[in-house]
């Protein structure tokens, strides 16, 4: 049984409705774009911030999904504002042009730490949700093997490993992101899943049943994820839905985890049921969707270069190719000034010098255009 109080706390930890007097209304300005529907984002919106609709924000990122810093910023500013940048537009253009009958496209975002990879993923997720795609979002793939809450040996395969709590939480996140769309599409399971002597999900039951079962029964949550993703893959290939899978830090899939079995052997990420479920969708044998991944150095992964081939390793490369590598770089001077203007408008930057040209130059110099670094520095002023 999931700790409901915990879920409730997570829900309410998100957007807290504030009184109109406290939340300053965003004034029309150069650094914002009024186009809040990502389906309409184009080159003219480049370098400007758009505000994610409150409902969308709650739906997509209520349980989890945003980086902690971005989530805290959204809470503080009473809005989630994302910058429209070239890497995201490239992905969106490719997805718009993609053919659902062809094998799914694979994208890989790479770049310096704090450069905006997760934010790009958030933007693309928003677009996909607005376009009616189903979302399978793994916010931090390395957490499954490095900072997991609990792992147990799998019932079906003694070498495999399940995540009772984490998988259930993930299914709650999936449900929050996709509930409305799933209800619209009314997708059904293709085969019967027997969980125990008394519990079974018959063929033809709605997929939401699988989700509900996983959320409530942690014991079967991992297997539910496996079944759910297999079903979604089949539906997408059959053309009944469009599916976007987003996996952040996908290079962790081919690393060792910190979990150990009873005999002391190391559990690889590839031994985990949930990871195997995600790997189903990494294979090129399905159509009607796309896979968006990011890489970042993880503990236990290869040291050295942060570039794709090195971080993925031979196995990861073989699993993902051919993919489109997209670099998410630090911000340009104009983009940095946009962010600074935004912080000023939100009263986050308090120092009067920050509004001057000299102050902006100094902030750009100190951060190097890196969004994460800029946010860190601006929190001091």
């Amino acid at each position: 049984m999931l700790p409901r109080c915990r879920l409730t706390r997570l829900c309410w930890l998100g957007l807290r409705p504030m009184s109109a007097a406290a939340a300053p209304e965003p004034a029309p300005s150069v650094f914002r774009t009024s186009v809040s529907d990502p389906r309409e984002h184009s080159r003219s919106d480049l370098g400007r911030l758009y505000t994610v609709d409150r409902e969308d924000h709650r739906r997509l990122f209520q349980v989890t999904g945003l980086r902690k810093s971005l989530s805290a910023q959204a809470r503080t500013f009473c809005e989630l504002a994302l910058m429209v940048r070239q890497p995201a537009l490239n992905v969106l253009d490719s997805l718009r042009a993609s053919d659902p009958s062809r094998p799914s496209l694979r994208f890989l975002l790479y770049g310096p730490y704090g450069g905006g990879k997760s934010t790009t993923v958030a933007h693309v997720l928003h677009w996909a949700a607005a376009s009616g795609w189903l979302l399978v979002h793994f916010p931090e793939a390395d957490r499954w093997g490095l900072r997991f809450r609990e792992v147990t040996a799998s019932a079906s395969d003694p070498q495999a490993v399940d995540h009772p709590v984490d998988a259930a939480l993930w299914l709650a996140h999936f449900r929050a992101q996709n509930a409305a769309r799933l209800a619209e599409l009314d997708l059904r399971t293709g085969e019967t899943y027997t969980w125990s002597r008394r519990e079974a999900t018959e063929a033809g039951s709605p997929l939401t049943d699988l989700v509900e079962l996983g959320v409530t029964r942690g014991k079967h949550a991992s297997q539910c994820v496996l079944a759910l993703l297999a079903e979604l893959k089949a539906h997408a290939s059959a053309g009944r839905c469009r599916l976007l899978m987003a996996v952040e830090k996908v290079n962790a899939f081919w690393c060792d985890s910190t979990a150990r079995r009873e005999d002391g052997s190391t559990v690889k990420f590839g031994d985990m049921t949930v990871i195997r479920a995600a790997e189903q969708l990494l294979r090129p044998d399905w159509s009607g969707g796309a896979v968006l991944t990011t890489i970042a150095p993880v503990r236990g992964g290869p040291e050295g270069s942060h570039l794709p081939r090195h971080q993925l390793g031979a196995d990861g490369w073989r699993a993902l190719e051919p993919f489109v590598p997209i670099r998410v770089d630090d911000m340009s001077r104009a983009e940095t000034y946009t962010m600074i203007d935004y912080f000023l408008e939100r009263r986050w930057l308090q120092a009067p010098a920050a509004a001057t040209e000299r102050g902006k130059q100094e902030l750009f110099f100190r951060s190097g255009g890196n969004p994460g670094k800029l946010a860190e520095i601006c929190s001091m002023y």
């Binding site: 496209l105 270069s305 081939r309 073989r318 190719e321």
Partner: protein
């Protein structure tokens, strides 16, 4: 005086002590009166006296040879053969030696300088002397063959044997490093197939220079140079013939992971791309991009090329690949 006071009975004899022996020089000391009866006592050699004697002695010697040598002399005649350094014959203001405070003291000069005398000098082999000797030897030489250029020599004699000879001042004639022999061979002169070459490179390791394609074998394990040379040649022979051998397990156990270079044909990458059904030239350019990325290393330029190739392969908008 005292004796005269207390012994009035004795006769007044002038004391013999006061009659002193004058020093060898008949000159009185400065400031002393020239009294013939009371000559001053001079014990020891006075500085001025010694110096004057020295100067007189020096004046009788001729000046050192380096001051008398004409400027246009033939140095080869002055120093015809190896000789210990002699300061007066060498017209150079040389200084050699250790000083404790180099900022305050000049190193010792060339006269009576043991350091300069100990070391070997080559004053007998100045360039004009060498030229003269070469001219004398030239009549015993034949002209260099015209067609024998450096490139032709590399073809005919690719093997290079490098040894070092040492000149040293030491109790023994032998120098321990003189026994070391190095062998340089360009691999192009060896008859090797691809697999032979790969095997040889694995055996040889760091000794192969990829830029010049030359392997260097150094032998120093034997006490004599001749033995080391024979050993190095033996080593080269063994390397060549071992790399031509094939073990039965090589064909069975060799996997893709053992390959030293990525080969597109028959690879997993080619198989992954085949189902996409793209045009042959697009697939080929993708193959080239992947091969470059794996073989030349991953950096922004090879990744950019890969990105362009993938975008063309998957039929995506071109600007996505232009990033």
């Amino acid at each position: 005086m005292l004796s005269l006071c207390f012994l009035p009975a004795r006769a007044a004899v002038p004391s013999a002590r006061l009659v002193c022996v004058r020093a060898a020089s008949g000159q009185p000391a400065a400031g002393r009166t020239d009294d013939p009866q009371f000559r001053p006592l001079d014990i020891g050699r006075r500085r001025e006296v010694v110096q004057q004697a020295r100067e007189r002695r020096r004046a009788t010697l001729p000046p050192p040879r380096h001051e008398r040598q004409p400027v246009n002399q033939q140095w080869g005649d002055v120093w015809p053969a190896p000789r210990t350094f002699h300061p007066d014959a060498v017209p150079l203001p040389l200084r050699q030696g250790f000083v404790k405070r180099p900022n305050a003291q000049a190193p010792p000069g060339k006269h009576a300088n043991a350091e300069l005398m100990k070391i070997a000098n080559f004053l007998h082999l100045t360039p004009p002397v060498i030229e003269r000797q070469c001219r004398a030897l030239a009549k015993f030489c034949t002209p260099w063959p015209e067609g024998l250029t450096d490139e032709r020599l590399d073809e005919l004699r690719p093997l290079e044997v490098i040894t070092q000879d040492f000149l040293h001042a030491s109790p023994t004639l032998r120098h321990p490093d003189a026994r070391v022999v190095s062998l340089k061979v360009p691999l192009s002169c060896l008859d090797l197939t691809e697999t032979d070459r790969d095997k040889l490179l694995r055996l040889v390791g760091d000794r192969h220079d990829p830029k010049t394609d030359v392997i260097t074998l150094t032998a120093d394990r034997c006490p004599l140079r001749r033995q080391n040379r024979d050993y190095a040649l033996y080593l080269l022979t063994v390397l060549y013939f071992e790399s031509c051998k094939r073990e039965p397990w090589e064909a069975e156990l060799r996997t893709v992971a053992d390959a030293e270079k990525f080969v597109w044909a028959g690879s997993a990458s080619e198989a992954a791309v085949a189902p996409l059904g793209a045009a042959a030239d697009v697939v080929n350019s993708y193959g080239e991009a992947v091969t470059r990325l794996h073989n030349e290393g991953e950096d922004e330029s090879t990744l950019a090329e890969y990105r362009k190739a993938v975008v063309a392969l998957l039929g995506l908008p071109e600007h996505v690949g232009a990033n």
